[in-house]
Symmetry: C2
Subunit: 187 residues, 2 copies
């Protein structure tokens, strides 16, 4: 077997998640992750800045999917409906429920990871607000629609994780979005 | 002058904020904060766990005001209107615009403080959702109304900070809440 290893990134992610679930995040070292994946530490650092980032490696891709769909929504779509298109696209990418459950159990057990997760969600929200402004939406409507959308995502994700094994994130997103509209229109 | 110092907490907060603005958060030590306040390090640690917490010492009181008003809203009030009552009460407490501006400039300059700020806001949101459930609001409506409310607070706070010197946070909260309702009902 040569030095090139197929799908090194995926194997490192998989190995890290397994070890974090088994031993806990704090108790796992990069050396152990690399060994478990059958790779070197050097290879690990080629893909990830540190052992925290392994858990958030999908963020950039998710953001791209989200933003792409918000930007690509029909021109006449209301801001919240452009956001809804983005959330639906994210739901289409997040389909591996067992993996999402394992990842979330690691994050929930560690305050530092929770703070990082919140920061990533805030970054998504800022990116959505930027995209909405690019569509001509004024402030504060752009930021409010973006923040409300990310709240819908967060709630839907939690319900998906805690729901039945054959649940689909997209459906929870659709339902939570309807709930948001109901709850904010009541007055 | 005896060993008892009036308003030690307030003086430490004031001294910390001055130094953070002047020199930067990372460059300031607890020793310097205590000296600037004319107090000892020991007194500092009687009030605050570390130099980060000085910036968030008002969180507990704010949460109490917020939760008190949500819980005390008229029984028949819709969830979002109970949240609105809570935000308005917070707006009544946050009246010192120059101080809020200085504090925010320190937080904006430091990613670690930004993460802590997000975590504090998430804690507020969780507390509001708990309170709404105590009022009989079901999930996911409770969490969505709480998250949307905190989004309104965040946006209003930013507009207040960036607005005219005689601006009132309560007014921005009122306006942003109306915007939220408009932006989420559009479909």
């Amino acid at each position: 077997m040569g030095r090139w290893q197929p799908n090194s990134r995926g194997r490192l992610e998989q190995a890290a998640l397994e070890l974090y679930v088994e031993r806990g995040f704090a108790q796992t070292t990069v050396t152990e992750i690399a060994r478990q994946a059958g790779l070197t530490e050097r290879t690990f650092f080629r893909y990830f800045a540190d052992k925290r980032e392994v858990l958030f490696s999908g963020s950039a891709e998710l953001q791209e999917v989200l933003i792409g769909a918000v930007a690509g929504a029909p021109e006449q779509a209301a801001p919240i409906d452009a956001v809804a298109a983005g959330l639906d696209a994210m739901g289409g990418v997040l389909r591996d429920l067992p993996r999402s459950r394992r990842r979330q159990s690691v994050i929930s057990a560690n305050p530092e990871l929770q703070e990082r997760e919140l920061a990533k969600l805030a970054t998504l929200s800022t990116a959505v607000a930027d995209t909405l402004r690019g569509r001509g939406v004024q402030e504060p409507a752009a930021t409010l629609a973006a923040d409300a959308g990310i709240a819908v995502f967060r709630v839907s994700f939690e319900r998906w994780i805690g729901g039945p094994d054959d649940g689909e994130l997209r459906r929870f997103i659709k339902d939570s979005l309807a709930e948001l509209k109901a709850v904010t229109s009541a007055s």
